[in-house]
């Protein structure tokens, strides 16, 4: 038996909006510790890891570990039926083939429940090692979204370089090139607006902007985003979800073509 009651139902809506375009089907894993998801996009270039800790739910009951395969597009359609202020409850029976979403309006005068069929999904669960990253950049999420959006009008790929001075996003395309540099900026009064760079050694990696752009759909979840990078490792783009968990996107960097380098 699984019963999760999330008072801030809009969070779940936002989470789905953030990942549904990247991943179409995914297994939601429920355990005592929380509600999580790990899935790769169809091209196996990006990976999403979502965690909603059990203590973030108003009511969390998970009798045994449960993996529920869901079509995220369908799930998102159902969650769209929930109001932004609604309380969302997820219910499922052990071994059942469906999951029920229940939406309660804040005034409690409207209750809707939606039952969705589950799917069997063979997903490859990847072990993500805990890594010390060479550079960690914390910046306003809206700023990051803006940069990715702007640069994608110029080029397809972005080079993210972290140095002591700041973080530089650069791209080039047929029409020209663009560089955006964000300097370290510790604003005392507003933690959300600050850009903080922790760096052990300079890192410069190239990424496909289309993936970064789809990650930025999670901007609504958090005011800040954290980019963690190490040389020749996937970047981690992390959005915290208001004291309940996080959503992390991993994106494999573009690497020098072997044939090119040999030649």
């Amino acid at each position: 038996m699984l019963e999760l009651r999330l008072v801030q139902g809009s969070l779940l809506k936002k989470v789905l909006d953030a990942i549904k375009d990247l991943v179409t089907d995914a297994n939601f894993d429920c355990s005592e510790s929380g509600f999580s998801l790990q899935a790769m996009d169809s091209s196996h270039v990006a990976l999403v890891a979502l965690l909603l800790r059990s203590d973030g739910f108003e009511h969390y009951r998970c009798d045994r570990n449960l993996s529920m395969g869901m079509n995220l597009t369908n799930m998102s359609k159902m969650l769209k039926c929930a109001g932004n202020d609604d309380i969302i409850t997820i219910k499922a029976d052990d071994g059942g083939d469906s999951v029920t979403f229940m939406f309660e309006s804040p005034s409690q005068d409207k209750v809707s429940d939606f039952e969705m069929k589950l799917m069997d999904i063979d997903s490859e669960h990847l072990g993500i090692p805990e890594t010390e990253y060479h550079a960690i950049v914390k910046m306003p999420s809206a700023e990051f979204a803006r940069i990715c959006r702007d640069l994608s009008t110029i080029g397809d790929t972005v080079v993210i370089s972290v140095s002591k001075d700041g973080v530089k996003f650069s791209t080039s395309g047929d029409i020209g090139s663009a560089n955006v540099v964000c300097r370290q900026n510790n604003s005392v009064d507003n933690k959300d607006n600050e850009t903080v760079i922790e760096m052990n050694e300079p890192v410069s990696l190239t990424f496909a902007l289309r993936y970064l752009n789809s990650f930025t759909k999670a901007t609504t979840l958090s005011n800040t985003v954290t980019l963690s990078m190490s040389k020749e490792l996937p970047v981690v783009v992390e959005y915290k979800i208001a004291e309940i968990g996080h959503i992390r996107f991993y994106l494999a960097p573009k690497i020098e073509d072997e044939e090119e380098t040999q030649a």
Binding site: E3, V7, D21, M40, S42, S43, H44, V45, L47, E58, H59, G83, N84, D85, D86, T89, M102, E104, P106, S107, Q108, D109, K110, V111, H125, L126, G127, I128, P129, A145, R149, S152, G155, D156, T157, T171, S172, G173, D174, I175, T206, A208, R210, Y211, N213, S214, T216, K217, T220, L233, P234, A242, Y250, L251, A252, K254, I255, D257, E258, E260
Partner: protein
């Protein structure tokens, strides 16, 4: 606890706070159970004092003159923890009353107010002839001479009003209503109280304290007609009015609100706590029911409203989205066929030119050099499929090209622009013959259009990087096309309907150049962005970094 209306209310409050986790403010309580707001404040206070063990969070409204210069009258909502600090910052005897009680302090202060708001909207949305506490300003301490109260009008509370608990209320509380509060409570429009006020029956004892009141409640229910609230005619919002307020209370003004007789019976039989029927969401949860009112008419109060900012952000995200359909190469997309409801994409191979290489639900991307648009034409041509022609153009064609010549001439122009043609096969020869003439007659027609082959690199649906050579049109200038019509009219056409033909051709030439920018658009904005740069880099797979578990 004694079975009295006020204790029932307290029981209700407990349910709402503990089970529904609702923020209960005195305003909400007042309207919900049709009790005066002062009474509601006292009830909340009593509830808090009775349930200390529950560790409830209380938000107090503290008002008074600040000690700091410049002095001003401040009204603040403060949590329990900060109450003493705030009191200390105000001059002696600040007024303190319970504003709201909740299980935990909401992260967003607006939540304190949201339940009130929903309720106010609901009350205001009730039909005009229904009298509710907001319309007649029943429970406000501030009155207005313009508001008429009528006992004959139907009275109604919020959704739960049908199960209103008859509560005999009295004694206004000793705390003043600060200016801020009133401002934040627009629903309390000042209205008159004079019109239909009824004197309270004499057997009612004057102003018992709350606890005493409950004893009387049953008697009151039994033999009192619904009596409307007495509200002191005080407009002032200064602390002084509270003195008057209290005085009035002490003078014996009594406030009794009763639901209509029919409802009283129902209430008696229906235990509070929502044991009846569909009311209790929380029953589904195996928890104690908390709401009494789901059986009552429930309007959709607050349709989920998308925050404008959200929507905008989403649109922006959509625009920036690399996954959108616009991503598809224009040359490919022009050949999408609808087959039995499935999306099928057919791409001809350069050499074979046949449509054999098609796969269901699979995008095949052309990897070789595309034909020049002119060369592509025959492949694109499809007598029945007008998918290439923009809708407005099609309608124009349908509307105006009634004669054969018109069709031919329009198609001619289309051909010259390298777009799909919808020529009838029989006319094809004719078109070819005429095309030269058009070119001669309209010398500048294609002058502004240059095409060149460009290497484009993009990432396809499978994440592969695809470098392809596409035709890019440059110097597209619709304005120049617009200038052409006089020349077009000079071209040979059938003598029959020359005027209309001319007109149609003119229209056509204006409309036709528009779709032209389409083919180069996508390659320029998507595929062609970084032809030079990306060629040396290869997209790695995430699988090469993380091991399978």
């Amino acid at each position: 606890m004694e079975e009295s209306p006020s204790s029932q209310v307290l029981f209700e409050i407990e349910g709402l706070i503990l089970d529904a986790l609702q923020v209960i403010s005195y305003k909400w309580l007042s309207r919900k159970f049709s009790i005066p707001s002062n009474m509601a404040k006292r009830l909340l206070e009593r509830f808090v004092s009775q349930n200390k063990q529950l560790d409830l969070e209380v938000v107090y409204a503290v008002s008074g003159w600040t000690k700091q210069e410049p002095q001003c009258y401040s009204v603040q909502l403060v949590p329990k923890s900060k109450l003493e600090d705030v009191k200390a910052s105000l001059k002696e005897n600040p007024s303190v009353h319970v504003y709201s009680v909740q299980r935990c302090l909401p992260k967003d202060p607006a939540q304190l107010w949201s339940a009130d708001f929903v309720q106010a909207v609901e009350l205001f949305n009730q039909p005009q002839d229904v009298n509710n506490s907001l319309r007649d300003n029943r429970f406000s301490a501030v009155s207005c001479t313009l508001v008429q109260r009528s006992l004959l009008r139907k009275t109604s509370g919020s959704t739960s009003s049908q199960q209103q608990i008859p509560v005999a209320a009295a004694k206004p509380i000793s705390t003043p209503r600060g200016p801020v509060q009133n401002a934040a409570q627009p629903s309390h429009i000042s209205r008159s109280t004079t019109a239909d006020r009824k004197p309270v029956k004499s057997e009612i004892p004057p102003v018992p304290p709350i606890s005493a009141l409950s004893h009387h409640a049953k008697d009151v229910i039994a033999d009192i007609k619904p009596v409307k609230t007495e509200i002191p005619s005080v407009q002032s919002v200064s602390p002084q009015h509270d003195a008057k307020d209290t005085a009035l209370g002490k003078n014996g003004s009594k406030i009794v609100v009763l639901p209509p007789a029919g409802k009283r019976k129902a209430m008696a039989s229906v235990p509070l706590g929502g044991a009846n029927g569909g009311s209790s969401i929380s029953n589904l949860w195996g928890k104690a029911a908390s709401k009494p009112s789901a059986t009552s008419h429930s309007k959709e109060l607050e349709p989920p409203v998308e925050v404008a900012g959200d929507a905008e952000a989403r649109i922006q995200a959509m625009e920036a989205d690399g996954f959108s359909d616009e991503d598809v190469d224009p040359y490919v997309s022009t050949r999408v066929k609808r087959t039995a409801g499935r999306r099928r994409m057919i791409v001809e191979d350069d050499d074979s030119g046949n449509e054999g290489a098609e796969e269901d639900e699979e995008m095949i991307v052309r990897l070789g050099t595309p034909d020049s648009p002119q060369d592509v034409k025959p492949l694109l041509w499809n007598g029945h499929d007008r998918s290439m022609v923009p809708k407005d153009q099609i309608s124009e064609v349908n509307a105006k090209s009634s004669t054969l010549e018109m069709k031919v001439s329009s198609n001619l122009v289309q051909d010259k622009n390298g777009l799909a043609s919808n020529i009838q096969p029989a006319m094809k020869d004719k078109v070819v013959q005429k095309s030269n003439v058009v070119e001669q007659d309209v010398p500048g027609f294609r002058a502004g259009i240059k095409r060149k082959k460009v290497m484009k690199t993009r990432i396809d649906e499978k994440g592969r990087e695809v470098t392809e050579v596409v035709w890019v049109t440059e110097g597209e200038d619709t304005a120049s096309a617009d200038e052409k019509p006089p020349l077009v009219t000079a071209k040979p056409s059938a003598p029959t309907n020359k005027e209309s033909d001319t007109k149609a051709s003119t229209e056509r030439t204006r409309a036709l150049p528009k779709p032209q920018p389409a083919p180069p658009k996508a390659p320029a904005s998507k595929g062609g962005k970084s032809a030079t740069k990306a060629t040396g880099k290869q997209q790695g797979s995430i699988m090469s970094f993380f091991k399978k578990q």
